[in-house]
């Protein structure tokens, strides 16, 4: 029983070691922007909090399509890029 509890605790406590700001736009930055708009650090935290295996994405571009916020409302995102150049600096990239 103890190993199961410790395993659950370890999974819930995955926290990043460092953070830096994005400098140029990319697909990864775009998805991070979408997660952070919904109130999460990134995909790792979203899957931890919402207990889901997969995130709904647009098949054409691979960008996140729909996220559920912590208050259980839903955010929907465009097929194309939403993160403008002026918002790229606000995107946080976490390193584990």
């Amino acid at each position: 029983k103890m190993p199961k509890v410790s395993e659950v605790t370890t999974k819930a406590d995955i926290k990043p070691k460092s953070m830096h700001r994005a400098k140029i736009w990319s697909d990864v930055v775009e998805n991070l922007y979408r997660f952070q708009q919904a109130g999460y650090r990134d995909e790792v935290e979203y899957k931890q909090v919402k207990q889901v295996d997969q995130v709904e994405c647009w098949p054409e571009t691979g960008f996140v399509k729909k996220l559920q916020r912590r208050d259980n409302t839903f955010y929907y995102y465009n097929r194309q890029r939403e993160c403008e150049d002026k918002d790229v600096r606000k995107v946080k990239i976490y390193v584990y």
Partner: protein, 216 residues
Amino acid sequence: GFFVLFCFVFSLFKVRGPPPAGSVKQRPAKHTAFRKFYERGDFPIAVQHECVGNKIAWKVEIEELDYHYFLPLFFDGLCETEFPYEFFARQGVHDLLEHGGNKILPVVPQLIIPIKNALNLRNRQVLCTTLKVIQHLVVSAEMVGEALVPYYRQILPVLNIFKHMNVNLGDGIEYSQQKRENIGVLIQETLELFERYGGENAYINIKYMIPTYWSC
């Protein structure tokens, strides 16, 4: 002598031209059903103010919504110009069209009256928003462009009036083109999308309503 007499008589009975018809004059907007339903709390939406921009949060998944009820209501809100009604209507329509898929086509006939009402206001801001919404509608799903062809006679007359609303600045920079707020350019883009997605009969129907349009 006769010429002088004629000028004198003419000045007495001045022939005035016809009064302006007011085709480009804004009409007053009435409160929409969208506003009424929003104030009653019938919409499953809430606005979220985030540091990276405003976004509309849906309390119910869009996939579960009855498009026959909600989509025409949101289109009705396109007539609004005040916050938050204008924002919710515009952003709500965008989300519903972006994620509607095959639920949009059956509802197209119910969208024509709200689109016509919005265009008939002749309000510049409402015109810009409605034209962008129409462009999104045309490309939102298969066959929507062709489904709109029978309704050109209801939508296109107002576009015919504003089609030539382009500013001639000489060598100056027309910033409203960049910001997609130039009505003449938006109308031209919309007509070209109608032609591209409207099938074989689209061009002839557009040309009938807007004789100065040329095929793209």
